[in-house]
Symmetry: D2
Subunit: 496 residues, 4 copies
């Protein structure tokens, strides 16, 4: 059975304190093993990154960018291989995996603009014949810790920009689907990246803590659940590192009475059930304003959900795949159970899907729950499964209050045709990423990704312009040349 190892200083390594099973979630079978790095291996990766840093830092930004130009080509050439890798370990359908990869590549494209993005500000004559300017210099070694749900995209949010800014990198991907990150890291060398600039270690909490406490790691980017994000942020901060830690979400869509309802339903289908709802931007709550909008929405959703197909990743006719583990399946089903028990109406029930030939897979079918209320466990917590809950309210103000009261503030959306409603919503909602008739308002790669409230810890958002700022530190130089030596023909003897 194949074992997934580490990439350190340009070489594969298989050092392990232990190994851990990697499942195929569609079959439920163990497919591979992943090497769990001991502390020394993580330190070795950090040391490799530190050793590669001085030369990489001094490489002109345009040359660093050209590695990314080539890297984009290579990712596109290997797209089928990568999407198959994602499918085999994560379970998402190939077209969805292709979408994930494409979103990741967009961050590589943005990183190609490094020479533009790294420009500092130059001020002539801040005083008489005194000039001042800023430079954005790299930090050194930076680390990324990434989740299972986007094994290609989330790493690609981080390392292309970190690297193109002149840093070197240590990535700890999710140990549940580790192959993809390792493969795309190796491709960087084919693109011309010097050995040691990019390193990957697989591991568990020991690896994480080694990264968080190493004096040579200058910054940490994290994406995962809120409790872990909070731990990462406070630990990294207390260890003198800069940190951005992205956590959980509960993304609501307000459905207004004037919404184009067919479009709304069509949008919600993908946003709620795509990738089995295992997305931090998954649209998991629809808040219908008014009795009629709610009734129409539920009726049309029920109808639209009927043909949805859940199944194995390589079959393109499937709409979404299994969830990541049996434990997670149990948790999702438990939330549906609890909603039912607490008085909600399960309109479409995906608790017991039958997938011929994949009876042991971790499948949950698309589920629609109506009459959900604020107090229910399924409302308060992140389900991370293919479950759309409908909450009924009378007014838009009530809908907005619901959202603003939730502990998370990642994404949200309003469906309406009305300019005023859209503007009022986007202005006053306490959420970092807002959609107007866009249910998954993930910012494009040239903007930045980040939630508010307990969905993100840190000052700066992920990728885009904020990433440039996160992965560099400002240096300000003030310069005056005091005497007109050679210009006025004076001879200054050097001490001999």
């Amino acid at each position: 059975m194949e074992t997934i190892g580490h990439l350190i200083g340009g070489q594969l390594s298989y050092q392990a304190s232990r190994t851990q099973d990697v499942f195929n979630p569609a079959t439920g079978a163990v497919a591979k093993q992943v090497a769990i790095a001991p502390k020394a291996t993580v330190e070795e990766a950090i040391a490799a990154a530190q050793a590669a840093y001085p030369a990489w830092r001094n490489t002109p930004p345009i040359k660093r960018a050209r590695v990314m130009f080539k890297y984009k080509e290579l990712l596109e050439q290997h797209a089928d291989k990568i999407t198959a890798m994602i499918g085999a370990e994560h379970g998402k359908i190939c077209h969805d995996a292709a979408g994930e990869l494409q979103r990741g590549i967009e961050n590589v494209e943005y990183a190609c603009g490094a020479p533009e993005l790294l420009k500092g500000e130059f001020s002539k004559n801040v005083g008489p014949s005194i000039d001042s300017w800023s430079e954005f210099q790299p930090l050194g070694v930076v680390a990324g810790i990434t989740p299972f749900n986007f094994p290609a995209m989330v790493p690609l949010w981080m390392f292309p920009m970190a690297i193109v800014c002149g840093n070197t990198f240590v990535l700890k991907p999710s140990e549940r689907d580790p192959s993809t990150a390792l493969f795309i890291a190796e491709l960087l060398h084919e693109a011309g990246l010097p050995a040691g600039v990019m390193n990957v270690v697989n591991g568990d909490k020991e690896a994480v803590d080694t990264l968080l406490t190493s004096k040579d790691v200058k910054a940490v980017s994290f994406v995962g659940s809120t409790p872990i994000a909070e731990y990462i942020y406070s630990t990294a901060s207390a260890n003198g590192k800069r940190c951005q830690a992205l956590g959980g979400a509960k993304n609501h869509a307000i459905v207004m009475p004037d919404a184009d309802m067919d479009n709304t339903v069509n949008q919600l289908l993908g946003a709620a059930f795509g990738s089995s709802g295992e997305r931090c931007m998954a649209l998991s709550v629809a808040v219908a304003v008014g009795q009629e909008a709610g009734d129409t929405l539920v009726a049309k959703m029920q109808e639209a959900m009927a043909p949805l197909k859940v199944g194995e990743c390589s079959d393109k006719t499937n709409d979404f795949g299994p969830v990541i583990t049996q434990e997670h399946k149990d948790k999702v089903v438990g939330f549906i159970d609890s909603a039912e028990a607490q008085g909600a109406t399960v309109v479409v029930d995906g608790r017991n899907p039958v997938i011929a030939g994949y009876e042991n897979g971790f499948f949950v079918g698309a589920t629609l729950i109506d009459n959900v209320s604020k107090e229910m466990d399924s409302y308060q917590q992140e389900i991370f499964g293919p479950v759309l809950q409908v909450v009924r309210v009378d007014t838009m103000e009530q809908a907005m209050q619901l959202i603003n009261d939730h502990e998370y503030g990642n994404g949200t959306c309003i469906f309406t045709r009305d300019g005023e409603a859209a503007r009022y919503f986007s202005d006053h909602i306490e959420v970092g990423m807002v959609g107007i008739n866009v249910p998954l308002p993930v910012p494009v790669a040239y903007h930045s990704f980040g939630g508010w409230k307990r969905s993100l810890f840190g000052d700066l958002h992920a990728y885009g312009p904020d990433a440039v700022r996160f992965y560099t530190k400002r240096k300000t130089i003030t310069q005056r040349w005091p005497s007109a030596g050679v210009r006025e023909g004076k001879s200054f003897a050097f001490p001999s």
Copy 2:
């Protein structure tokens, strides 16, 4: 005896758990009392700020900026009063206090540009007929905690920008010289600021901890010593706030053999002894490269220091004043003693200055110490007094290594005529603010202030462009209008 109180919701308040002496450092006498706020008073200030927030947030940026335009006028009108206030409690000479105030006003001037500074980025067609843009929205209530050494300037680094970005503010100034902050805060109301937007509380650790743990305080800016900065940063971070905490410094100047030596000496005088060296940007170590440069530097410094006058703040012929307290004087003298004991040469000795009529003042004279080495206590720690130490090295690389090895990385400078030396230095030195023949490379208000290493905790620097980013949070909106209703003449009936 006058008691200095608080400013809460536009009203002066004198609630106190106790009062504390405020000295006139030139006479050594207790001049005033300051009210130390109990927890409840700090919470009242936070509540006042929270109450003022919604209306202030919705005030257009140009109207917020106009308060700052008017505020600049008022600060200039009251400059003499403010500089006298600073002198009476801090001790710095009036021309130095005027310089401090001017530097503070420059931040008000920068804040007047809020409409320009708050612009977000707009992207047309991120997809077909989909647009996306970013907004920089205020955070809510933010707090500033400021040190004794710049009682006007450091608060002015913070609250003008925080307020103009739409936040409301609670300032806790140093309890050693609290009058100035209170006075300039009151002036804001004369400039048209609504009550509650700006609040001041005097207090001690209880006040600080109340600010750091309040759920309604969204961000904290701090300037002070490194141990406190580290405490502030980790506590604020662990409480879910964004934080920037600026700490101590040890600022070196490299004196190259080709430097214009008369200019160098002239620059060092002000940079080392101005404001009694109680500046986080004070130039406290000169690193002379080569025997001849060192000998010349020490000889010329000794000569130039002879006429320096230390004394009371209102006498413009004085060059600098007392240090802030008797304890601090003892500490500074102790560092000189230790350097001498550890083998350095005290070339000019300021330990026992005689200031006629001010025999009980906290005065230390300008002191020059040669042959200082890396191991000495006086080298490793921040003295914060009018003491310039000279270290001798053979090469520029040695000089740079010395600087890069120090725990602090606030400011530094090189004196040279050589373009290559200057560029190499500014590129490779691990310090946030770099001067080329500029011994106090404090960035102008339209750049940002921040050290590296243990001189600053946080991602973003103080004032300037970084302050805009620190005092706002990014929201990204993605918008699509799905159907051409009214444009194509379709009639959509609203639910009735």
Copy 3:
């Protein structure tokens, strides 16, 4: 009778080849004379500006900006005097003149941000140890030629930004209402501007041509009618100057069936009749989509226009004042006549207003014309009077085609509640300034003003960010220091 002169090198001058009458348009009487500068006087002004240039260019931007901070204070202090001046010569009502002045002051406020706005871009390591940066240096002497309709605002669009960028300025204001420009130019000196940096000459075509052909004038900003704008642009261009020349307009509002009709009517009143329609952004054509919208609009407009009062400037109860001259009154009335003759319906007729006590004033009352069509003279040309014409169409596409077919493309607006209609309109309309429910979409001072098609000749718009670019030229410096002389301790003897 008072004669209005010139301001040259800080001194008033009354050199004149002839003088010309300045009228009070409310009474129709000649109120003052204006000196018409001969060529030599204009050359003297250019020479004064040229002489002042080197010192002003080298003045740090922050010091130049501080003149503008003070200037803003002074303009506000003298606001009543300035609005009275505008009223006496232009005729607009005092509240309207106050609005004009305020809009002008906003450009002074923006100019205060010069240190931020003039920042160049700094690129470290464009090659190994090679840096490159841009600087935006002033041009030298620049000229402004401004129209009668905004005697304060349009000059304030130009000279504050030109001056704060380091240029010196020669202004030729309209000879019909020349007092205001002269007065506000003099105020600059009180604000601390050195003599010669700002100069004003009154004159006619000879003055204009002298400016356009002088080798020392580096740029020309013009606002006026399209034929003159075209002449100015081609002449200045052929003489090697940069030029921006803003011309005429025909600003349409589309009124959609879903518009909030009461708000629409309320907005149109001010946009069509304010300042007698003598604004390049006046809303002079309403395009109603659908029979019902058109009928409702005309009926409500007719009703809303009934209480409108035309009269003398100092009476605040008046809504608007006279037009600028008798000739212009005749022209406006002629357009109404022609529309009527060509088949349009004059719904509200302002051709013969009776203004008690001002029987000789140049008054035209608010006029509403329905059923206007594309072929009519009154549609094709700019009326520049208090006349709103209504065109009826069946679809939004027809309305947009009408606008896109017109030779002008200055401003336009749509009234709707529908997000999709607004977005489609703003994307596809061939007009430079677009309002969504904003009938006078004049960009705020921190954006830029400019029409498309034959409404503007030149690459860059007026005021705001574009003005910074217009009034400066880019210099790009690339720097490498080839040998590590002093750093490596090498001794380089200078030739002696």
Copy 4:
């Protein structure tokens, strides 16, 4: 014999009013024919571009950018073919042609950043609930007219950025070496560009005038000689187009007494003789400050020039190739003759090089002329050949005056080690592109290229950030939503 045709609407076309010889300048033989387009053919190209415009304009910027990503790959894949094409018609040595292509590709790389570069500015709350933002929309059809000396690079300065901004393009390359432009234009289609977005026409003045006067061409970019640039600029401007026209140059290097002389000589060799001096940034005048610097410079240059080899393009050991035509060779030789006749000293004489096997080629050898003075014809005019002239002066001020007095202001350089001299020079020299120890200070692709004085007509420089601004027009939208219809549950019936 091969005939070079046009590319119109994605198809090759050979319409011709006549054909013209294309020479191989190394052999002097006619190698190909080029079709000279009649007016109708040019109009056809404009029409094809106009037809392709609406769809291309509406293509999202990221999709337009992806064509450029692919295009970069293709240009790199075909690099050998392209450099051979350049060599065959222009004569430059293959390594020099490769450098040209690389510089061109850098502009493609920059164009890949279109989504970032096209961002507009978004202002929330310019008034209460009113927002305003800017968009940079494409112009329509734009034209480029390019010179013989960089048959790949100068077209690549223009069309990638114009196209990525959403415009469609008509290129008229030099008819002396037309193959390269046609080939690289064809490659665009392989990269995915829709037919008609890019078009190429070969032609003469008739073609140029057709482009300059067509109402459908919205902007013209030109690079060539100053008299033609001036004609292009004034004609295009008078025809209502935006235009940037880059003309001639006379680029001086000041050699200071403290310069690293070996480095200086080494730099000057390539800068003066590379590409036979047929570059608008060629360094053609060295101004030596002081007798000793001048003597050393001339002696070392003479020595360094001895091994220079002139010859055929495919031989990599050659340093440079022939000039473009026999007429041009005669002109260059004539300038050397005239300098000699007017009193200068021809130190190294390249007038009669013997190139075995290429006796009829248009070769001129590297030439060094000392003691040149301001009055000589060879100093006043652009030679555009492999000729370096040395002027002797006593002071840096004299050297700078010489440069500032010249009609051209394209590029310049100073060789010095002294920071003050470099800063004074770069600040006060009236030249657009300045080098500090960089003899060819061509800005990198992410800065912009442009001279001052009579070296450039227009407001905006070529390529880089200025190109984005040149190839787009600003639209400013101001938006308010007047009534809270659907949000407050009001029912608005549409007219039926």
